[in-house]
Every structure is written in structure tokens, then in C-alpha cells.
Symmetry: C2
Subunit: 340 residues, 2 copies
């Protein structure tokens, strides 16, 4: 018998989630059966999309979390015992199949992939080379379809997804504008990620952001990678160029709203300007995982693509790490170190 | 010398356009030069998009109308005198190259096409087989891409564009829902256009329309052909299905707003449901004109596709016909008979 510590969801949030919605529990795991493996979780991911799974009635590709059950998400694990030929003791795997938010789990090979622990540090497999990385790469290459010389705007630019979008945009020869909420993040964007103009969204409303973007991008914004929503979407629909493309990946500004705020009045501009707006979640592009790794892993391994992680130490820190996502507490990917 | 009566724009509207913004004038036309032809306008079109050209600062593919100059738009004309080998006296042509809102014009062959006056009545070349027809067909086939068995919702369903979208949707095997603003139009939609469920938008707000659509389309709406905007967009983003497609063709509810109303708060749904929203204007699809005529003209000629026109008699009625677009005054295409 193996004891697994886990973080469970105790209640659904009404508005912003709070620490009291989480509870710790321990469960005894049975021995793995044929086709299964026992793993210990080394690192787990906290991501904004998890807030969506805390709405019991939301209509989404992913079902809501159940109360008094462990939460789940991406995790990097070590195989301790295997009863399946696809995994061996000592393998390091990453996946979303039931090993997140807990110390140990019984898994099946489906939904996990073996990874090379020597290529990049393990937390990067939850960030730049993980689900956020695929999200960034797929939204940019499959929806925005960058052309050299075009202008790209990225909201949430210093986040796990946004920071890769910015750097890939530069890699493809675009002028890149990005927004974040602190001077430290703006500095990182310009100095490390190569962003051409960084905006502090906290200093703007839709009108002033419209003006500020128009000053540096008088021909308009060709591609908008949307992580935030709210007044930034309002502003970007004012400055979007003819034939502009919007990859709608997240609207974190709205995730905790008890009542949804009004949408962008400027949405009417999509008609005369022939704008495409495509909402997506990463699983829509799961079939492109290999193409993503093939293109991006060498850029990361060579240091051409920078990545940052904010590491929280200990499973018990997972709620704090998650809540920090909505307060702009992290630069780059927020990851929780669970095991040794 | 030929005298041309014309309707000019006297001032830009602030909000809803009013009759006093239009003025009649007569001008003497010079004789056609080499490469030109003199035409008399038989029928002219009034369309909602013209309101957009009355905003002097709007950023669009089409420039705004100039003050104290004639307005322009689609027109069916007879060639009176030709100095170009591409046109002959007596030819009937249709196009948007400077013959709308006036009785006579000097044109060039570019932007006009010869038409067969025996195939369908001439006003149909401004409606079901004209620009609104191409708009309907292109938005449906190129953006929504119907699949048999899917559900389609059409706002402004009894209008020039919407009535064709509805019928093509049925032709492609879809369940079709449509909205309009009078019992007479709802009856026409169900009895003539074959619409499965017709909604009177005047009897609904976003919440009740959401509920009404969900009752008849419990699996959601796969395709939304958007002509109206406002609360209908709010409702449709509530009931849009996974992988739904929205062809954003018009938002007439907003055209006369002095200040743009808030957008749809439900826009966040495009992310978890992977929804595509594509704004477009007909000229984006001008290159598909031949494909459109090839597919739709036989359906119209055979009577399989029904079409209605509301005909206003006399050039001087053009402002009234145009203003009626914003009051739901017309079933089908609004056309002004200008010449004999």
C-alpha cells in the first residue's frame, strides 16, 4: 500500500477562489493492476484554465472538478512500479491523466509521454515544452499564421503562454507588442523576450490603450493572442488591422466574475475589417504535439527561447500557487515541486 | 448632353439617418469618351452597409460617401450609348461602379457585368442573384461550411441576405432557425422559406431568446449567420455548439448607435467551445462570383429558392427605401425602380 497525499476541492467558488475551498487528504493506493503503473509526482502544474473546471455547470470540452475529490492537471512523474510494458521503473513521464495535485498516483500509459530529463529542466515540461507551450505555438501558427513584418499583440505577455508567443513572434519576424502588470515583467519582456513595446495594462483603460497601441502600430495589429479579455479586447478590436486574426486562448480578466462583464462594444469592427476570431483550447491541437516539440525543443535547448518558472516548494503550496495566477504573482510558468 | 437626376448626401447622420440628410440634384452628363458608356439606371439597390459609408471616419475597405455628391451602390442599367467594345446599346448590366442613386451615368465596363433579363426579373439581380445573394452564399459556404444535420440560426432571416441563407441552409440539409420582427415575416419564413422555427426578436431579451433556442436546439447551434448583433449575438454565444462557426455579416442593431452599446458578455464561451467567428464583407468573396451564380441561379430560376422584393417606385423614393431598412419595413430585398 502506498499513501498518497492529495489536494481536494471542497466547494465551488462564487467569484474569486479562496484558500478555504481546498483541503488536504491522504488516501491509500492499491497496488497497480495489469496495464497500470504506480508513479510519484515530482512537479505539478497550476493553470488558469483550472478555474473553468471549478464552475459546476460550465459547458466545456473538459468536465468540472468533483467536490471532495482531488483536483487534476499536468504533472511530471517518476515511475515507481510498472505493470505495463510501455513504462519501466525509473521512467520520467509527463501528462494530464490523474497525477496532478497529489503525491502518488496509479496511472495508465494513455495520456502520459516519456520525457528526456537531460534536455531541459523538468519544470519546463509543464511550461515552455508542455501544455502552455503547445497552446502558444498552436494558437500562433494555426490561427494567427504569422507573416514576416506583421505586428502581433500579446496580452498576458509575461505568462507561461504569452512569453512563448512573444518570442515565437519575434522568431517569425514580427513586431511584437505585449502587456503585463508590473515594471519587472515589462523589463523582462523587453530585455529577455525581445518584445518591441511593452504596456502596463494597469495604467490604461480601453481608450488610452487604443491610443498607445496606435502610436506604435499606426498600420494596426495583424495578430492578437488573447489571454486576458476585458478592456484589452475592447482596445485591440479598435486597432485590429484589415484581415486581422485573433487567437482567443483565455480571458482571465473574466474568470472570477460573479456576473460576466459586458463584452467589447468594438466587436462590430470585425465586419468591415474582415477579422477572424477563433476560440480554442489546447486539446484541439493535441494532434500537433510532435510538430510542436520538433520545432520548439531545439529553440529552448539552445537557449534561443527563454523561459522562466516560478517554483512553489511542496504540495501544500499548490492552492497558493493557483490563487497567485489571478493576482499576477508569477513570471513565466507557475509550477509546484511535489516530490524529490 | 444628358441630364441625370441624382440623390446626394447633404450631411452625415449622428445616430439614425433622417430624410433631411438627402437632397435631389440634377447634373448634365458629358458624352461618353472612349472606353466609357452612357447608361440609364433601371433599378437601384438600398442596403444596410450604406449606413457604414455615412460615417466619415470609419476604417473600412470602402471609403465613406462624400457630402454633396451622389450616393452610390448596386444598380441595374440599360446601355444607351457605348464607346467601348465590351458593351453595346441595349445591353442590360448590373454593378456597383457609379450608377446607383441616379437616373443616368457614365460608366466603364469594369465593375459591371452583362445580365440575362429573361432568366429572372431584373430586381432579383440586386437581391437573390446580386450582392446580397453572394453575401449569403459566401458567408454560409465559406465560413459556416454547412454539414447535413447541423443546426443553423439566421438573424435578420427575412431580409435580402437572410432569406437566402435560410433556404440554402435547408437545401444543405440543416435544421434552420430564423428571427424577424413581425408575424407576417415569421409566417413567410416558415411557409415559404421552409424555416423550422422562427422567432420574433421583439418578444425577447437575450435571456429568453437563449432559453427559446435551447428548447428547440438542445444540442446547440452549429452555425450562426449574423446580420443583426446586439442581444441576439449575446444569446447565440450562449447556445453556440462546440466547434460552432459564426459568419458575422452585419450588426444592423448597432449601425445607428451614437455610442456603441456593450458587446456580448457571453463572448468568453468562444474559448471552451472552440468557436470560430469571422467578420466579412462581400468583396472578400468577389472572386467566387461565378461559382455563386453557377450554383444559385438554377435554384432561383426553377423556383426552388424563393425570393421577395419590396419595390419603391421612383428615384425620389430612394431615401425612404433606405430608411425603411432600419425599421424592418421590407420583406426580402428593398429595390428602387428608377427608369422604365
Amino acid at each position: 500500500m502506498t499513501t498518497s497525499r492529495q489536494i481536494q476541492l471542497k466547494g465551488y467558488p462564487d467569484g474569486a477562489p479562496t484558500p478555504d475551498l481546498f483541503q488536504e487528504a491522504t488516501v491509500e493506493l492499491p497496488a497497480p493492476q495489469d496495464g497500470q503503473a504506480l508513479v510519484e509526482t515530482l512537479y505539478m502544474s497550476v493553470d488558469p484554465y483550472m478555474r473553468g473546471r471549478m464552475n459546476p455547470h460550465v459547458k466545456s470540452y473538459i468536465p468540472p472538478f468533483q467536490l471532495n475529490e482531488p483536483l487534476d492537471g499536468g504533472a511530471v512523474c517518476r515511475v515507481l512500479e510498472s505493470k505495463t510494458p510501455e513504462l519501466s521503473e525509473g521512467d520520467i513521464v509527463v501528462g494530464m491523466g490523474g497525477a496532478g495535485w497529489r503525491s502518488h498516483a496509479i496511472i495508465t500509459p494513455k495520456g502520459f509521454s516519456k520525457i528526456d530529463p537531460d534536455l531541459v529542466p523538468l519544470p519546463a515540461y509543464l511550461g515552455v515544452l508542455g501544455m502552455p507551450g503547445l497552446t502558444a505555438w498552436a494558437g500562433l501558427t494555426q490561427i494567427i499564421k504569422p507573416k514576416e513584418g506583421e505586428t502581433l499583440y500579446v496580452s498576458g505577455a509575461a505568462g507561461a503562454v504569452g512569453s512563448l508567443v512573444c518570442q515565437l513572434g519575434k522568431h517569425y519576424g514580427m513586431t511584437v507588442l505585449g502587456s503585463a502588470g508590473s515594471q519587472e515583467k515589462l523589463d523582462w519582456l523587453v530585455r529577455e523576450a525581445g518584445v518591441d513595446h511593452a504596456f502596463n495594462y494597469k495604467e490604461h483603460d480601453a481608450r488610452s490603450l487604443t491610443k498607445a497601441i496606435a502610436e506604435v502600430a499606426p498600420k494596426g495589429v495583424d495578430g492578437y493572442f488573447e489571454n486576458v479579455g476585458g478592456m484589452q479586447l475592447e482596445a485591440l478590436l479598435n486597432v485590429i488591422a484589415f484581415g486581422g486574426r485573433i487567437a482567443a486562448c483565455g480571458m482571465i480578466a473574466n474568470y472570477n466574475a460573479k456576473e460576466l462583464p459586458p463584452g467589447p462594444s468594438s466587436i462590430i469592427n470585425i465586419i468591415p475589417r474582415g477579422v477572424l476570431m477563433q476560440g480554442f483550447i489546447v486539446s484541439n491541437y493535441a494532434h500537433l504535439q510532435d510538430d510542436f516539440i520538433k520545432e520548439v525543443a531545439p529553440l529552448v535547448a539552445s537557449g534561443k527561447i527563454k523561459h522562466e518558472e516560478t517554483i512553489y516548494d511542496g504540495l501544500e503550496k499548490a492552492p497558493e500557487a493557483f490563487l497567485g495566477l489571478f493576482e499576477g504573482a508569477n513570471t513565466g510558468k507557475a509550477v509546484v515541486k511535489v516530490g524529490a
